[in-house]
């Protein structure tokens, strides 16, 4: 126990004795965590919005001429339990079309209601794109169904874009983590070099490499945690400040909350990532120095 206390005491002492190096290391990790967090938040938010949009899109089952609308509605209710199912007669479809055309509804003058097919519309909220597509597959079994449209083509394209964004993001984050570790390792080398006399004397009196290295690792851990905590705090502050604006600008984002864009597991991952970068950077710098002396 007293060894652990000694290691912690030596690490905290060292942080106190080298405030400049500590500030640079903490600052570097802060920037890396903030950049990572901004990217991850943007991706998470976009995915959340995509999911919301997907849930708002109605699935329409267009019926073949002569198909019984009521039978189709009942079948749709069976096939999609928990959703809002509505039967749309050709007359109602035409009325809606007229309403949607507004002033230009005159172009429909002379068009008979039989032009439009009867349909069953299925609405649900909170469904993901994949769930909506799965629902569309089930709805093809509705008796008399000629076509099922979930209007999801553009959503599929958007999701593909996000999937690619995740891949590019993962590669960029890996690169960013590596660059940060190298940058922090070089900064910490200054700290190690500044304490070369202490290290030399410790080796002289019989200290093992692990005894010498442990406080440096703890220092790295504390610097990483401090940088990551600052980054997470900045992210939280930014998200809290930007969310009301986003809700006003995008009606679809009306229900978006902080955990939707910045979930707690992501915050914990950012903290753990910062700590890991601090430890790896410390291990690199002190390991290289110990091999030389």
């Amino acid at each position: 126990m007293h060894r652990l206390v000694l290691v912690l005491r030596r690490a905290v002492d060292a942080l106190r004795r080298g405030p400049f190096v500590t500030a640079v290391a903490v600052g570097t990790i802060f920037v890396a965590v903030l950049l990572t967090g901004v990217f991850a938040t943007a991706l998470t938010g976009a995915e959340r919005l995509l999911s919301t949009w997907a849930g708002e899109v109605p699935a329409s089952v267009y019926l073949a001429p002569g198909a019984d609308l009521e039978t189709a509605r009942q079948a749709a209710e069976r096939l999609a339990p928990g959703t809002k199912v509505e039967a749309v007669t050709p007359a109602e479809a035409l009325r809606r079309l007229r309403a949607s055309l507004g002033d230009q509804a005159k172009v429909l003058d002379g068009v008979g209601e039989a032009v439009l097919p009867a349909a069953v519309e299925v609405r649900s909220s909170g469904m993901s794109l994949a769930q909506v597509q799965e629902l569309a597959t089930r709805l093809r079994e509705v008796p008399g169904a000629a076509e099922v449209d979930v209007g999801a083509a553009w959503l599929v394209r958007l999701e593909t874009l996000l999937r690619r964004g995740r891949l590019v993001g993962a590669a960029l984050l890996g690169l960013l983590a590596f660059a940060t570790a190298v940058l922090v390792a070089n900064t910490l080398r200054l700290a190690v070099y500044a304490r070369r006399d202490e290290i030399e004397i410790m080796k002289l009196v019989g200290a093992t490499d692990s005894y010498i290295g442990a406080p440096f690792l703890v220092e790295g851990l504390l610097q990483g945690l401090a940088g990551a905590a600052l980054g997470v705090a900045a992210l939280l502050g930014s998200v809290q400040a930007l969310l009301p604006w986003l809700r006003r600008a995008l009606p679809i984002a009306g229900r978006l909350s902080r955990p939707d864009v910045l979930p707690t597991p992501l915050l914990l991952a950012l903290l753990a990532g910062g700590a890991a970068i601090g430890i790896v950077a410390s291990a690199l710098s002190v390991g290289r120095f110990l091999r030389r002396v």
Partner: protein
């Protein structure tokens, strides 16, 4: 305690720092290692406490061949060796007590035990009243006494001193030598590297003389010559 067999040490393409050195220091001995600057005294001490590897030959310390000790085993050998340097090698930002506590802390001794032994070691060198001071607040003689306390606090079987009185006046030299002789009287084997012929003349000990990396005499002839 220490045995060297045909030991060579060479740095790059320069002339050998040590050349075909064979000698033995027995347990409980007090030995002076002497010679002019560049004779190889410090190099020999560095080889004994594994600060550097030999280029050739065999070195046995406590009966162990140091060339066969793995790097991870070197710290454990050093815990039985106290080392004193001419420039003291005290950390200026640590108090005297903290400097002396180093060898005990690296062994993981309990803080209470560390405090007790540090106080005792500093009392033995007459510095217990200065334990809270920083090294730069001490005189040269006091700093060297603190360095001796650090070397002896772990009760080592072997004490190596590299020009321990090189920066001290005669009175302080006498004080430090008394401490080294006291440790030797308590059973510690002591090897002192010095080029101070006056020191050799005042202390009737075994003298090993080096010149250009070779042992040129071993015994008390140099002391007689000096006197």
């Amino acid at each position: 305690m220490i045995q060297l067999f045909h030991v060579f040490k060479q740095y790059g393409a320069e002339a050998p720092a040590l050349s075909d050195v064979s000698l033995e220091v027995r347990k409980g001995e007090f030995v002076f290692l002497t010679g002019p600057s560049g004779a190889g005294k410090s190099t020999l001490l560095k080889l004994v406490f594994c600060a550097e590897p030999a280029s050739g030959g065999q070195i046995l310390v406590f009966g162990r061949n140091v060339s066969r000790i793995r790097p991870s085993g070197i710290p454990y050998l050093r815990r039985n060796v106290g080392v004193v340097f001419q420039d003291f090698k005290l950390l200026p930002d640590r108090t005297v007590a903290e400097n002396v506590a180093f060898p005990l802390e690296v062994r993981g001794q309990h803080p209470r035990e560390v405090r007790r032994k540090v106080t005792s070691a500093l009392r033995a060198v007459g510095l217990d009243h200065r334990m809270g001071k920083f090294p730069l607040a001490l005189s040269g003689g006091e700093q060297q006494r603190a360095a001796v306390a650090r070397a002896l606090v772990g009760d080592p079987a072997l004490l190596l001193a590299d020009e321990p009185t090189g920066n001290l006046d005669l009175d302080r030299t006498v004080e430090v030598m008394q401490l080294l002789e006291g440790a030797n009287a308590r059973g510690t084997t002591v090897v002192v590297a010095t080029h101070d012929r006056g020191l050799l003349a005042r202390h009737k000990k075994r003298i090993i003389a080096l010149e250009n990396g070779r042992v040129v005499s071993d015994g008390d002839s140099v002391r007689r010559a000096a006197s």
